[in-house]
Symmetry: C2
């Protein structure tokens, strides 16, 4: 919906997206991928908006990544036709939905165990379909994923053998600073798979913190980054972005000055999420030496003791969140802005799709 | 909407509310208030459901408390006609909405500064209305609130004098363990107000952690508790509840067993919120010695090293969240259950109303 309004007219808290910075961030990363021959598969968890997923594809992304099936369904409804869900789909209801989704788009899914592979095989072979299955590898994040290259090969052999499945390669979501570990893990996989005579169609890595070094993991053909569209304090801390790259801010109002060295903003963990960046819960653009030291549900608690300038009650300030993906997931609406103008406002299409 | 279904049939993650425990929790607290002559003003931030707000009032609550105006509007639409918003309302848009709301229900609002009082006065006197204003006092939480009884008196005098305002008393939201501090702060206020000849219509305290001791703060006539409807790990840690009192659980599926001593559930910070209780992010009912040590957006990372019993992939387990209010705010739908049956499912009426 297009509205003729200015940021000044919005009530707070409001989630603002600087469209020029979004454009810059999307373009810069796509150009980096193109330069290094990396396929860019954008993770939509950060924006959850069909309009930005479409834009990522127009710019050259090979497809998108959705962490949950419900998000993928929303994106498919919005016309996106190449989606990777890097998640273990378990249970009859989800498998039936995956089959239905695979009938209308190109779908690939993740898997890190024989149990998950067998469930997928039963559902897709019964439907007379074949689904691309990529095997998740743990390169240090200690989340999901097989623990070592030998286990990756063993599970790939099973996937290759089971009806209804097509082995699509390996993927990982490394912790920050693990580019070398990814390279080592995948190099050993290439040896093992080569010896075993099993083709390895794709190696895929992900994450924004180390994406500018993604090409250093030799053999990786695809990178899945999400936060790069907006960035946030965590990404600044990781060295992936500068403050002036951050495209999403939360417009807030100072509602209390309970003491000379403290102020309270009208956005708390229900808006900014309870996640934190090292040392704080977000940066206040207008008061760079202020620190958001604590969040309650509806209040940000700001320490002004190091800030020579201090805001008055009623003043509106903008916060760069610690972790922006969770902010998108909390917002019912977001506002696309250029300068002081609001270009559009929109529901967050895939907000809350956790099933 | 009534559905004939069983918990077994729900896909995960799903937020379940044990209706028998809700009934027990609501009744037990109301009886405590009745026994001690305390007015129970239930805070709806925990459930955000009109049906439970109505039930709290039927059982004897004098009204409800909503932290944001948007929540109050939803509750007023649902037929609740006595609402206290303990928040500094700042800015023209919110003041206009407060005036509109005050035309249709009994509304009281909070205030901790002359700036906020003057804004309320301008809006309500221009509308030809009078609004009840209660002054917030900081009894140790270091959030909003005047810092000392002398400042409370000074601000009360201003409120008493300004057109369109009616001084409604003092309120506080103390930190855990501060019942004695509340009593001391309010005792000094009673002396000061008495000497000044300014009537003190009400002293109101709040919070679930110390609610069973609320009557020890002599002079407090009203208590605002919210979490007592569901309880959570934070309230167990505070000694306000036992595990078997917890009424809200998140039904999840084990989607990965990446190592013998770890498992991954399909609910992360987008479902359970990133808040934590001391030592963990939630308890797994079926595996009491398992510990949720970390959350990513769509995964709970469970340490099983102390757990002799360990779940298999595909098994469904129930999690008691660390902080339940944020879980309500994240859930699009919740399921009311009795035993294994789902009695109803419902949107969370006031979810996401942060403005």
């Amino acid at each position: 919906m297009r509205k003729e309004t200015r940021i000044d007219h919005l009530d707070t808290p409001a989630v603002l997206i600087d469209l020029e910075r979004v454009g810059h961030n999307l373009l810069r990363w796509q150009q980096h991928c193109d330069r290094h021959g990396l396929a860019n598969r954008s993770h939509i968890k950060t924006h959850k908006l069909v309009r930005f997923a479409r834009r990522q594809i127009e710019l050259g992304a090979v497809g998108i990544c959705c962490q949950k099936l419900g998000e993928a369904e929303v994106m498919a409804d919005g016309g996106i036709d190449d989606i990777f869900v890097p998640y273990n789909l378990v249970g009859r209801a989800k498998l039936a939905r995956a089959v239905a989704l695979a009938r209308r788009i190109r779908l690939a899914v993740g898997c890190d165990s024989a149990e998950v592979a067998k469930g997928l095989s039963a559902a897709f072979s019964a439907a007379g379909l074949e689904i691309e299955v990529r095997i998740e590898c743990d390169t240090g994040a200690r989340r999901c994923g097989v623990a070592d290259p030998e286990s990756a090969l063993a599970l790939a052999r099973l996937v290759d053998r089971l009806p209804g499945l097509r082995f699509g390669g390996l993927f990982t979501y490394p912790p920050p600073g693990a580019t070398a570990a990814v390279a080592t893990f995948f190099a050993r996989c290439r040896e093992l798979f080569s010896t075993a005579g099993l083709p390895l169609p794709l190696l895929s890595s992900g994450g924004t913190p180390d994406m500018w070094r993604a090409q250093e993991a030799v053999g990786v053909g695809e990178h899945r980054a999400g936060t790069y569209i907006y960035y946030d304090c965590m990404q600044i801390a990781a060295g992936a972005a500068r403050l002036e790259d951050c495209a999403l801010t939360v417009l807030t109002t100072v509602v209390s000055r309970p003491a000379p060295d403290r102020c309270i903003l009208d956005a708390g963990s229900k808006t900014l999420s309870a996640d934190r960046s090292p040392g704080h819960h977000g940066l206040v653009l207008e008061y760079p030496r202020a620190r958001i030291v604590r969040l309650s549900e509806e209040h940000a608690h700001v320490d002004l003791s190091d800030s020579p300038e201090r805001p008055r009650i009623g003043e509106r300030v903008r916060v760069v969140p610690a972790h922006v993906c969770l902010v998108s997931n909390l917002a019912d609406r977001v506002f696309g802005t250029v300068g002081d103008e609001v270009e559009w406002d929109s529901a967050v299409d895939a907000r809350g799709r956790v099933v």
